[in-house]
């Protein structure tokens, strides 16, 4: 599965890499694995991160990733 890491997470946590090949059964597990790759990410993810799975935002991180081709990790942005 391809993980597209959007700014600022690419530079902040993953040494500037904007694409990672990574497998995980769910988004929750994906967060844990990303936390293993970059200590500190998992602690901040819940408050800062959003995911889109194959082009659809996925607020439920228990969502299974079996069959998913692409996940986008992006920063949450507040409106007014």
């Amino acid at each position: 599965m391809r993980l597209i890491v959007m700014p600022p997470f690419d530079r902040e946590f993953f040494g500037g890499k904007d694409t990672l090949e990574i497998e995980a059964p769910t988004l929750l597990a994906l967060v844990d694995r990303l936390g293993d790759l970059s200590p500190g990410f998992a602690e901040q993810a819940e408050a800062r991160a959003a995911f889109a799975v194959d082009g659809v935002f996925a607020p439920d991180w228990t969502r299974a990733l079996a069959g998913a081709e692409e996940v986008v990790l992006l920063q949450r942005v507040a409106g007014g």
Binding site: M6, V56, D60, L74, V77, G79, G80
Partner: protein, 752 residues
């Protein structure tokens, strides 16, 4: 025209019924933040720093505490020492360490107007007198206000533990640049070098306030048993609860926040300034305490929208195709890190266009002014002013109609959005086609006037909402939601419930419940409420319909699968039972009927707007008059058409004010010089022409009635629409806001 045909017709959706809260509001009976009264309530007052930057060596409150009538005094020492802790309550998280210091200085003052102490007393006069008896020992520190000054090598650094985030290598020195955020793709520099036309410019903007009329106010009551209640107006009482409980380190369930009517927020009322202070005063005094901000307090101590310095180069091929963008934007962050306008500024800079090569770098810059806070499409209007001004210049240089240039470059459904996620059923092309076909665009420009056009976008949002729907025994309908009604959402929720149920609009009444009476609902912000809370209301209504069908089926002794719901009536063959008939028999058919729905939808869609503006410039005085203004926007589908048009008009007027009049003005001592509506000039009705609106309806297929957010898009294009109009009227590019008479006068004289 790309406008869709054969639009689905509804019985109530898209109509304009009277708002259910209208009579109370226009007769002065509605209870707003400063109106609530609790028995035995004390009056509070807040002492604020006269210095923009100072260390607090000590605060002596003894004389104030000894004054007759004073019941409590609090300072920063009464606040639990909040470490870094992120709390979600809105779309992005807030760090309680910084939120606490927006309520009360803890050891150090970072801007003029920051609270340093507060008093609760038997009257407001006694509380104000007590403030004068509080002695604060300040060690005044050098201050810095402007963005470029704050980035200078010798600038005073506000925080010795704030290091620039987002750099490739972790910095070793603290900095006022709290964050760098960049999006890079392709080779922007090379693409621009090979472009047929390019524009390079620097654009500047000053901080501006949301300008809500109702001041921040609350009443807090913290009892000896640890349970507390707060009455306040806000854009989200669940967020107020989360932040207050977090700062005071108490259980969320121990705090019950009652929403009062809100007199404007525009993003500015999604955080706490007073509530934790009133809570601490109440606990000390053992009585409820009211705190209300004065207008000058609002300007000096609450978060405005960032000022900005933006350098941009935009390049296009001879046919108008954009080839590259190089942008560096620096936004005011205010006193504390955490403002997230830079994210949307960078992400949305050219997100509404296809630009294959882009280097967009943003900086959040701290200085001694209040921490920035959300204001309608936060972070987007500033960068859009630069981008859409550059588009105007490219159109002129290439000899292409400004709307055609945009049509050539816009994003389309299926293409990546600024977030990287593919765009769904957006109506950007339809909005541009509608603008091009509008009589305003084709009318001749009057002598002495100039016409500008600008586009803009906002991502909108969904997120969690809870709603319940209950039937009265007489067949009337009660909707309860947890989203404060700012822009007429009671009416919109009633329309959607009535449409779904098949009953009259007037049969549905909507209540905004407190935090202990309805499940979690995110703030009314991000243009999310009609979309997300609307989905919750529709889902709960559908739950009620299922129960109604079940009651009818059991009454008739038939299978529920054979019962349909049509126009407010259960139908099985020739048998019919109306909603009112079923409701009247609930006492003997299984009890009351109600349903609750909790949703967290993320299938929202962004909105796009196109604004056309005609301005007339008085060449003797530099005064700019807006003569005609048209807002065209993809609104998905309007639930209550008046309120959608009202959002479009309101956003446009606020943007026009930003363009022409509004700015924070600081004197050399770092004090705000225009902390009142007489000196901070917002537009009034007599300044404006009628704002014409065109609702382009390209429905969101993920919403039962096609809703998209509408409240934020309309403040994005006006800055550039006005700037482009004035530039064409004068022949001088407007680079700096506000386009005030003195500035225009100076530019005209310099050009002579």
């Amino acid at each position: 025209m790309n406008a869709p045909e054969n639009k689905q017709q509804f019985r109530l959706v898209g109509t304009r019924p009277v708002r259910p809260d209208g009579v109370e509001k226009v007769t002065g009976k509605a209870i707003y933040g400063p109106d609530h009264v609790s028995p035995g309530m004390l009056q509070g007052a807040v002492l604020r720093s006269p210095h923009p930057h100072a260390r607090i060596r000590g605060i002596d409150t003894k004389k104030a505490e000894a004054l007759a009538g004073v019941k409590a005094v609090v300072t920063g020492q009464d606040f639990p020492q909040a470490a870094d802790k992120l709390v979600a309550g809105a779309e992005s998280a807030s760090n309680l360490r910084w939120v606490a210091q927006k309520c009360m200085a803890i050891g150090k003052v970072f801007y003029e107007g920051q609270a340093v102490a507060a008093v609760a007393a038997t009257s407001h006069a006694v509380a104000e007198a007590a403030l004068k008896l509080i002695e604060v020992d300040y060690e005044v520190l050098p201050h810095v206000i402007a963005i470029e000054d704050a980035l200078a090598e010798d600038a005073p650094v506000l925080h010795d533990d704030v290091f620039t985030q987002g750099l490739a290598e972790k910095p070793t020195k603290p900095s006022n640049a709290s964050m760098r955020f960049a999006i890079e793709r392709g080779d922007a520099k090379a693409a621009i070098a090979g472009a047929a036309a390019s524009f390079t410019g620097r654009f500047t903007l000053q901080p501006v306030h949301q300008g809500y009329i109702e001041p921040h106010a609350c009443v807090a009551q913290w009892n000896a048993d640890g349970q507390a209640q707060i009455w306040c107006s806000s854009q989200g009482h669940f967020a107020i609860r989360a932040m207050t409980a977090g700062i005071l380190q108490i259980d969320i369930a121990s705090v019950r926040v009652h929403p009062l009517e809100i007199g404007g927020g525009f993003g500015g009322k999604t955080t706490v300034y007073l509530e934790p202070v009133a809570m601490l005063l109440s606990r000390k005094a053992g009585r409820p305490v009211r705190l209300t901000m004065k207008r000058t307090d609002i300007f000096r101590s609450t978060g405005p929208a960032p000022g900005a310095v933006i350098d941009i180069t935009l390049g296009a091929a001879a046919d108008g195709t954009l080839v590259g963008a190089e942008i560096e934007l620096k936004y005011h962050g205010g006193a504390f890190p955490g403002a997230n306008e830079v994210y949307s500024g960078v992400g949305g800079a050219v997100g509404h266009y296809r630009v294959p090569n882009a280097s967009i770098v943003g900086w959040n810059v701290l200085s001694n002014i209040p921490t920035m806070h959300a204001y309608r499409a936060p972070g987007a209007p500033q960068i859009n002013f630069a981008v859409e001004s550059a588009m105007d210049e490219l159109a002129a240089r290439l000899g292409i109609d400004p709307i055609d240039l945009r049509l050539k470059n816009i994003v389309h459904p299926g293409e990546p959005s600024a977030s990287g996620v593919p765009l769904g059923a957006i109506g950007y092309a339809e909005a541009l086609e509608a603008a091009k076909a509008h009589p305003h665009w084709s009318s001749p420009v009057a002598p002495g006037q100039g016409r500008g056009v600008a586009c803009g976008a906002w991502g909108n949002y969904g997120g969690p909402s809870t709603a319940s729907v209950k039937l009265g025994e007489d067949g009337s309908v009660l909707v309860t939601e947890g989203s404060p009604d700012i822009g007429g959402s009671r009416a919109s929720m009633a329309i959607m419930a009535a449409e779904t149920l098949g009953v009259a609009y007037e049969k549905v009444r909507v209540t905004i419940a407190d935090t202990s009476s309805i499940g979690f609902s995110m703030v009314t912000g991000g243009s999310r409420t009609t979309f997300a809370t609307g989905k919750a209301v529709i889902q709960a209504t559908e739950g009620v319909i299922e129960q109604l069908k079940d009651r009818a089926a059991r009454t008739w002794g038939v299978d529920v699968a054979a019962v349909t719901w049509e126009d407010g009536t259960a139908v099985h063959g020739d048998q019919r039972l109306t909603l009112a008939q079923i409701a009247a028999k609930t006492g003997t058919t299984g009890g009351p009927i109600s349903a609750e729905a909790v949703v967290d939808p993320h299938d929202f869609l962004p909105g796009f707007g196109v604004h056309i503006c005609d301005t007339e410039v008085d060449r003797e005085t530099g005064h700019v008059l807006v003569k005609r203004y048209t807002v065209v926007q993809d609104v998905g589908r309007a639930i209550h058409a008046d309120y959608v048009e009202g959002q479009m008009q309101g956003g446009a007027v606020q943007g026009i004010g930003w363009a022409l009049n509004e700015a924070y003005v600081y004197d050399r001592s770092g004090k705000l010089d225009n902390a009142g509506f007489l000196d901070y000039r917002m537009p009034v009705a007599s300044d404006m022409p009628m704002i014409d609106t065109v609702m382009v309806e390209v429905p969101n297929p993920a919403h039962p009635y096609g809703v998209k957010g509408v409240g934020e898009v309309p403040i994005v294009p006006p800055l550039a629409a006005v700037g482009n109009a004035v530039s064409r009227a004068t022949g001088i590019r407007m680079h700096d806001l506000p386009i005030s008479p003195d500035r225009v006068y100076g530019l005209l004289r310099a050009a002579e």
